[in-house]
């Protein structure tokens, strides 16, 4: 614990970070170590190359989108705070934490998790998943040779199923509704980050 405290002091604004995200000191330290391991050139922030050099990520079909999620608003660097804040989305939902008198909704609430996922679909940030965006996602996920017609039928079917207000696109609420039976708390949580 002593070592954690001392390394914690090296991290700027650690208290604020823990407060915002709900991570424990041990976790913050661990994430900091990981951050530094990824930051090979010791720049103090991460660039896209750093992410792309993670070799396990190479086989992931939606790698670019995930990396893109870290670099929100077109920035080129990810500092430690942003890194931790984004990873905080994947903390398991902590019922005790919810009971604290937090006016703000915690980052790892169900809605925020879903919003994070939604933003990965919605690349142009217009608040809706359009047919073309859906097609792109399907195309990247189904790496095998699949005809365009098939993809289009699937995309059409998906939108038809979820679209309640008939605008031929999936809004965040429709997205959330279509996933109401899925246990998002379980599905979008990493135990490691408890």
């Amino acid at each position: 614990m002593g070592s954690a405290k001392s390394s914690l002091s090296k991290i700027p604004n650690a208290e604020q970070l823990m407060d915002d995200t709900g991570f424990s000191p041990a976790h913050v330290v661990r994430l900091h170590e990981r951050f530094q391991a990824l930051d090979k050139e010791k720049k103090g922030h991460l660039s896209r190359q750093d992410f792309e050099s993670i070799k396990e990520l190479a086989t992931n079909p939606i790698r670019d989108r995930i990396i893109g999620a870290f670099f929100a608003q077109g920035g080129e660097m990810v500092d430690f705070h942003t890194f931790v804040k984004i990873l905080a989305h994947f903390r398991p939902v902590d019922k005790k934490h919810l009971k604290k008198a937090n006016i703000r909704e915690p980052i790892n609430s169900r809605t925020n998790k879903l919003r994070f996922a939604f933003q990965l679909y919605d690349q142009d940030n217009d608040g809706k998943i359009s047919r073309s965006e859906l097609l792109q996602v399907l195309r990247t996920m189904l790496e095998v040779q699949v005809t365009d017609e098939q993809l289009e039928s699937i995309a059409d079917r998906t939108i038809q199923e979820a679209d309640l207000d008939g605008d031929n696109a999936i809004s965040f609420d429709e997205f959330r509704k279509s996933l109401e039976k899925v246990n998002i708390d379980h599905k979008m949580s990493i135990r490691f980050l408890r």
């Binding site: 994430l31 990981r34 391991a37 990824l38 992410f51 993670i54 396990e56 990520l57 086989t59 992931n60 079909p61 939606i62 790698r63 995930i66 990873l87 994947f90 398991p92 996922a117 990965l120 679909y121 996602v137 399907l138 996920m141 189904l142 095998v144 040779q145 699949v146 005809t147 017609e149 098939q150 039928s153 699937i154 059409d156 079917r157 998906t158 038809q160 199923e161 979820a162 309640l164 997205f175 279509s178 996933l179 039976k181 899925v182 246990n183 708390d185 379980h186 599905k187 979008m188 949580s189 990493i190 135990r191 490691f192 980050l193 408890r194």
Partner: protein, 776 residues
């Protein structure tokens, strides 16, 4: 009940009463036959025939026109009678109103067994006891195979850690706690139990502490609790077999000697690992063999289900040879082979496997419970108040303590924690059943003089858990408002999004540098896709991504549903459709599809046509020959088949949109499966021989000419449809393209659906997980 409505009720009641009377008479007849069979009536006839043959100086007797020789059919006859009795009982329970909703079937069956056993006693005959060999080799495997083959892998693998904890640690705790405390009680003076030493007590504890899969299945299936609890209790009951086997053999071996050393304990632990892992490996091996075999069955579809059954049974027997856990072998075999076999076999084989497994497991379960009842009457009993009451109390106490303690530890590692309600259900659902009885019965009377006392206690515990816990669990579940099973299926949204989230989480785990659950799952999937699927799945299906397979299945299902409802009703988002054809009710709410509305008159017309055609199609089905899967080219209906095939080919263009490979040959397994589903006189998937005109499918054609074809066909078949129903048996999934719908092809749509209706009159099961027949 108002007076006015009495008369129809009276009619209904009287009809029901006469039905019940007839049924009771039938049952009495069967039971009578059973007694006749058991009582050696036929013994007198056999000596006559044998002596007649052996005598060298045969006197000439008049030729026997009618003779009675029962002995040589006795065994199969008795077995059939028992099975018949079991099935009739099962039928009977549902004729009695309200009974099946209060009392679970297992209880009723035990009562029936008790009655039958009692009757036999009264007659003076010795009731048969549940033979352990019969139980373990014949009655148990179908139930376990049914459970293993249809085991929902997702919740099972997600909760595997929890299940293993409950199964292994929980069972160990139960056995030792019970065994130890029982020994302590036995040592107390004044209970006449001092000859029961420690090891027999521990053995008894091991036997009685295992949760029984048969009993759990029988009870839990009726209460429909949510998936998590179901899989927890059920998974535990399956996986604790390994522990039970090891403990049983360990204590049985050393009970005679009277002492267990540390080495023995160590060997026991090693043995446990061997038994569990060995069982799984044996099962997996046979599962892979079976999957591999199913790859080549495209020409002999009829025996496909046989491979599944025989390989699984061999897995069970092979595991039993080495005293490995047969149950785990069966589960592993079923779970491993299922995804590959299902990709390879035909639709009808899938139906066959499903219904055969359900049938066998149902009959087995019924027989087991009835025999439990009969054995209770039969077996020698030695009742000891102290022992029995202490056993029951300890069972409950140890179960509760075990569950609570383990949950406390487990919740530290779970993302979704187990609540108190969950714990209660898990604890309360720990039913004991026939496995405990059989194990107890297997004990050697010489080595264990207290065997009868054990057996009595075991039976009492079984009765207690099945009756008391089984009957009260349903109201308790309602009282505690435990979440029930969700009835609806996955939508394509859920499928896509969950896959997306899987990728996302894998990526995040990689970024964190943490090799977690998703990482390994992803690796396994990749390995599966790259190597295993290529080996074990025939043809083009091996490359089909899961999403496409899922989508295709959905489309088929929806086509069936759409036709079932008569189609043509505008469906609001969440309101279930109330449209119903004459006798066909849609079972579930129809999916939201914007389909144009048609007028009432038109609807009626269409319904009438559909109804009529359904009747005709049903009649035609009866002429289907079990062995014929390929239509005889010299048969009369060949021309019709040709026309059908032509139309089918044209429509396959549409279907192939939903299939993987762009240039799908007409004989890809998916297509042939679709064909088989659509046509009662199904074709095998041989490539077109010289007899048939080969029709090349042109995939490049755009969609609009397709719809024009439909209009033409509508004109054409309008004439045909007057006389008979063979006016074009096509399988067409309703097009989703909205512009096509708006073209006003409402009429052609209805026509398609009529055709669809005709051809889908025997579509098999509605889906993977459903049990209900297609048409109620």
């Amino acid at each position: 009940m108002p007076l006015g409505s009495l008369s129809p009720d009276l009619v209904g009641v009287s009809r029901r009463v006469s039905l019940q009377r007839g049924f009771l008479i039938l049952c009495a007849l069967v039971v009578l036959l059973l007694f006749e069979a058991v009582v050696p009536l036929g013994a007198s006839s056999s000596p006559n025939t044998t002596s007649g043959k052996h005598g060298s100086n045969r006197t000439k007797k008049p030729f026997p026109v009618l003779s009675f020789d029962y002995s040589h059919v006795r065994m199969p006859f008795e077995i059939s009678l028992w099975v018949l009795l079991a099935s009739l009982m099962k039928l009977g329970f549902h004729l009695i109103p309200r009974l099946s909703s209060i009392v679970p079937e297992s209880c009723l069956l035990i009562v029936v067994g008790l009655l039958v056993g009692g009757l036999m006693r009264v007659v003076g005959e010795d009731p048969p006891v549940l033979d352990s060999n019969l139980f373990f080799l014949c009655l148990l495997p179908p139930i376990i195979l049914d459970a293993g083959y249809f085991l929902p892998m997702r919740p099972f693998s997600e909760n595997l850690g929890t299940i293993l904890m409950f199964a292994v640690v929980g069972t160990l705790w139960n056995s030792f706690f019970m065994g130890g405390l029982l020994y302590g009680v036995c040592q107390i003076q004044g209970t006449n139990l001092s000859e029961v030493t420690l090891l027999p007590c521990l053995l008894f504890g091991a036997i009685i502490s295992a949760v029984d899969p048969v009993a759990v299945l029988a009870v839990f299936e009726e209460i429909h609790i949510n998936e998590l609890l179901h899989i927890l209790v059920f998974g535990e009951s399956l996986l604790n077999d390994a522990v039970t086997v090891v403990l049983y053999h360990l204590f049985e071996e050393y009970a005679g000697i009277g002492s267990v050393t540390v080495l023995d304990v160590f060997l026991g632990v090693v043995s446990f690992l061997v038994v569990a892992l060995g069982g799984v490996l044996v099962g997996a091996f046979y599962g892979i063999l079976s999957a591999f075999t199913s790859r080549f069955t495209s020409h002999t579809r009829v025996i496909e289900p046989l491979f599944v059954f025989v390989y699984s049974y061999m897995a069970y027997l092979s595991a039993e040879v080495f005293h490995l856990s047969g149950i785990m072998a069966l589960i592993a075999c079923g779970a491993v082979m299922r995804p590959y076999v299902e990709a390879n076999i035909s639709h009808k084989s899938h139906t066959t496997i499903k219904y055969f497994l359900k049938m066998w497991s149902s009959v087995s379960e019924t027989l087991i419970f009835i025999f439990l009842g009969v054995s209770t009457v039969a077996g020698p009993h030695s009742w000891n108040w102290t022992f029995v009451t202490v056993t029951i109390v300890l069972c409950l106490v140890s179960r509760v303590l075990g569950v609570v303690g383990l949950t406390y530890v487990i919740n530290k590692f779970r993302i979704v924690k187990l609540t108190t309600k969950d714990q209660f259900i898990v604890a309360y659902g720990g039913l004991r059943g026939a496995i405990a009885f059989s194990l107890g019965y297997l004990l050697d009377a010489q080595e264990f003089p207290m065997r009868t006392m054990f057996v009595t206690a075991i039976i009492t515990v079984i009765f207690f858990t099945v009756f008391v816990q089984g009957m009260t669990i349903r109201p308790l579940v309602d009282l505690l408002a435990v979440k029930k099973k969700q009835e609806t299926k996955r939508s394509i949204n859920e499928e896509i999004h969950t896959q997306f989230l899987d990728h996302l989480l894998t990526g995040i785990e990689d970024i964190c540098g943490h090799y977690g659950h998703h990482h390994w799952k992803d690796k396994l999937n990749r390995f599966n896709k790259k190597y295993v699927k290529k080996c074990l799945i025939a043809g083009e299906r091996s490359k089909e991504p899961q999403l496409i397979a899922f989508y295709h299945k959905m489309e088929m299902k929806q086509a069936i549903e759409l036709v079932e409802s008569g189609g043509g009703v505008k469906l609001p988002s969440a309101v279930p459709s109330t449209v119903s054809m004459q006798n066909i009710q849609p079972k579930k709410p129809l999916p939201d599809r914007a389909i144009p509305k048609i007028s009432k008159g038109r609807e009626e017309e269409i319904r009438k046509i559909l109804r009529n055609n359904l009747q005709k199609t049903r009649q035609r089905l009866r002429s289907y020959n079990r062995h014929t899967l390929v239509a005889d080219p010299y048969e009369d209906g060949w021309n019709e088949l040709l026309i059908k095939r032509q139309k089918l080919m044209q429509m396959e263009k549409k279907m192939s949109n939903y299939l993987t490979v762009p240039a799908a040959p007409p004989d890809s397994p998916t297509l042939s499966r679709a064909r088989l589903a659509s046509d009662p006189q199904a074709y095998s998937s041989k490539p077109a021989s010289g007899d048939l005109p080969t029709i090349k499918v042109d995939l490049a054609s755009p969609q609009s000419p397709d719809s024009m074809n439909l209009v033409d066909e509508f004109q054409k078949t309008a004439a045909l449809q007057k006389d008979d129903d063979d006016g074009g048996l096509v399988m067409k999934v309703p097009p989703e393209d909205k512009e096509e719908e708006q073209k006003g092809e409402q009429d052609s749509k209805k026509e398609q659906q009529q055709r669809l209706m005709r051809c889908l009159s025997d579509p098999g099961p509605g889906g993977d997980d459903e049990d209900e027949p297609f048409l109620p």
